[in-house]
């Protein structure tokens, strides 16, 4: 996201002002317990956005609800202005690394090639050309030499790169990434950031669940602060303020987190929205 003129390698997806992702009044509950409550948010049409919030705030659930992986109580999801079912080909998902069994007998190339499946369709074996596209995606994340390695033999960072390669192979316009930086080494983190910035420069939208408050303003231009409800959203510079963060992390109905927030504020008042 460095150059003022984003290289016009490809035409920007959709009409210029259509948000890549828009959710309206989205609510999700597990066992009668609300996980997301009445969340409304419109992302930019391209760029990098972080979803930030404490544990259990519903960040991963938001991505899953957008993709239809968990049932929605209510609400509406639009991807480039269309329902998700019509826009699936333009969306790429990067699940949490811990969500799969890495002892599964598969090679890095086979996993990356799963990103080409939508182009191949049901019942057909993978053509050679598609396999080469997957190999190219592995090369983009610096994993070309590990293509035929069993995924269980890779380090955590390498596994994350394989997942990223699979997402890249989808050639999507909107990427939803669930903690792409979780448990990776510093070199991998830099490599992933470079890939994300290239995606943004190509006019795509990347929305990532992010845990590290220190690096969030460095990596992302846009932020959604989430804690069951959408607390605040907008450009990083104006939204990522101590007040909003305190509301995101401190305003929860949990004695424990109250205590933590109070201790962090050093006994000083945590700013409330309408305090005198």
């Amino acid at each position: 996201m460095n150059d003022a003129a984003p290289a016009a390698m490809r035409s920007p997806p959709g009409p210029p002002q259509v948000p890549a992702l828009a959710v309206r009044h989205l609510s999700v509950a597990y066992h009668e317990q609300p996980v997301l409550w009445d969340v409304s948010w419109e992302s930019p049409s391209s760029g990098l956005a972080a979803i930030v919030g404490p544990n259990g705030a519903g960040k991963s659930t938001l991505l899953k609800a957008v993709l239809g992986l968990v049932p929605r109580l209510s609400g509406e999801v639009r991807v480039f202005g269309r329902p998700i079912a019509e826009a699936r080909r333009r969306v790429g998902y990067l699940p949490q690394r811990a969500s799969v069994d890495w002892d599964f007998p598969a090679t890095a190339l086979q996993v990356a090639a799963m990103g080409r499946y939508p182009r191949v369709g049901w019942f057909r074996p993978l053509p050679r050309a598609e396999r080469e596209r997957a190999r190219a995606a592995l090369a983009e994340v610096g994993m070309a030499d590990f293509a035929d390695r069993q995924i269980g033999q890779l380090s955590g960072g390498q596994q994350q790169r394989v997942f990223l390669a699979r997402a890249l192979a989808l050639e999507a316009d909107l990427y939803l990434m669930d903690e792409p930086f979780a448990g990776v080494d510093a070199a991998t983190e830099r490599a992933i950031v470079e890939v994300l910035q290239r995606l943004a420069a190509e006019g795509r939208m990347v929305i990532a669940v992010h845990h590290d408050l220190a690096t969030a303003p460095q990596y992302f231009g846009h932020v959604l602060l989430l804690n069951v409800r959408a607390i605040a959203a907008g450009p990083m510079a104006t939204t990522f303020t101590p007040e909003n963060l305190a509301r995101t992390y401190g305003g929860r109905l949990s004695l424990l987190e109250q205590a933590v927030a109070a201790a962090r504020a050093g006994g000083a008042r945590v700013a409330g929205p309408a305090g005198p």
Binding site: R88, F104, P105, Y117, P118, D212, A246
Partner: protein
């Protein structure tokens, strides 16, 4: 030769085909950590098989498969209901449902009088390979004689059809099944719905349990489902080789088990053969022990570092200024 064709060919084929069907499908269970589902289904389909047999009065496949499928669905629903109401771990609930249904099947065998015809408790426990005979065989020429082949035991033909179907489905859905087994969430996100596929696996397991029922009974079928896949898993890390090796292990298990139990004692002049279904499980056990100990990932391997998972989510670091 004629004696081999009359008495041994059909059981040998049935054993091999049954193990191949189960062994191939077992890979899908093992790779998704659902081996116990095979255990549960093999027990739970018994009342369905008995009722299907009782109503139709024949050993023809369709009514038995229908009964078994109904029983498998009932078992799955019961497991879900009891889990929701008791909030107990799935293993205990499975144990409850499948022992209850197995007991029901055993009692039904006695109550319906099915045992008087063809289906008895021994068949459930040990299989009934020795019942598969081909009396029409008169020397090697019978193998090409349509009239004699028409008399060939129907159970074996059914198994051959089921195996062909299984292989065709595995080939047709090769990449889809791998995707759904490895990462069902991602599969759904790109429009490859994994739920019909896992339902298909359930149906395949039920069909395999019925098809293999006459050959190995309803308990030893678990060995045929799980052992070939486990043997292959101990030998390879490649998805394609996993299926190839499990098929090889299944063939050795079926044919070798029958040979050791029935043909070897005869050749040695011992007169009394051993139970073939049990021997297949024993052969599988020997292969498994060999694969685990001497395989490339055996005790000599330095490993032990393959359980690294992402660390717990980091504690959020709040900027210092907060007030």
């Amino acid at each position: 030769m004629t004696e081999f064709l009359q008495l041994d060919l059909a059981p040998l084929l049935a054993a091999t085909l049954a193990c191949l069907v189960c062994g191939l499908i077992g890979n899908l269970l093992l790779l998704t950590r659902q081996s116990l589902l095979g255990d549960a289904i093999s027990h739970a389909v018994l009342p369905g098989i008995v009722v299907g047999f009782w109503i139709s009065g024949t050993r023809a496949a369709p009514p038995l498969v229908a009964g078994a499928m109904a029983a498998a669905i009932v078992a799955a629903l019961l497991i879900a209901l009891v889990r929701r109401l008791t909030r107990l771990e799935p293993g205990a609930v499975m144990g409850l449902v499948f022992s209850g249904m197995f007991a029901l099947g055993i009692v039904l065998i006695e109550v319906t009088g099915a045992h008087a015809v063809d289906l008895d408790v021994d068949c459930v426990l040990y299989g009934q390979l020795e019942a598969l005979i081909w009396p029409a065989a008169q020397g090697a020429g019978s193998l090409l004689d349509p009239a004699a082949l028409a008399e060939f035991p129907a159970e074996v033909k059914t198994l051959a059809v089921v195996l062909a179907l299984t292989v065709a489905l595995l080939a047709l859905l090769w990449k889809e099944l791998r995707l759904a087994a490895f990462d069902p969430d991602f599969a759904r996100s790109i429009g490859f719905a994994p739920r019909p596929l896992s339902l298909l696996v359930l149906v395949l397991v039920s069909v395999a349990c019925v098809a293999a029922f006459w050959a190995v009974g309803s308990i030893l079928v678990i060995a045929a489902l799980v052992a070939p896949a486990a043997i292959a898993r101990a030998l390879t890390d490649s998805y394609a080789r996993q299926f190839a090796l499990s098929a090889a292990a299944a063939a050795v298990m079926g044919a070798g088990g029958y040979w050791v139990a029935a043909l070897a004692p005869e050749a040695l002049g011992l007169g009394h053969g051993l139970n073939a279904a049990g021997m297949m499980a024993v052969v599988a056990g020997v292969m498994l022990a060999g694969a685990v100990v001497f395989g490339p990932f055996g005790p000599v391997r330095p490993g032990g570092q393959r359980r690294r998972r992402a660390a717990a989510a980091p504690v959020p670091r709040l900027p210092a200024a907060a007030g």
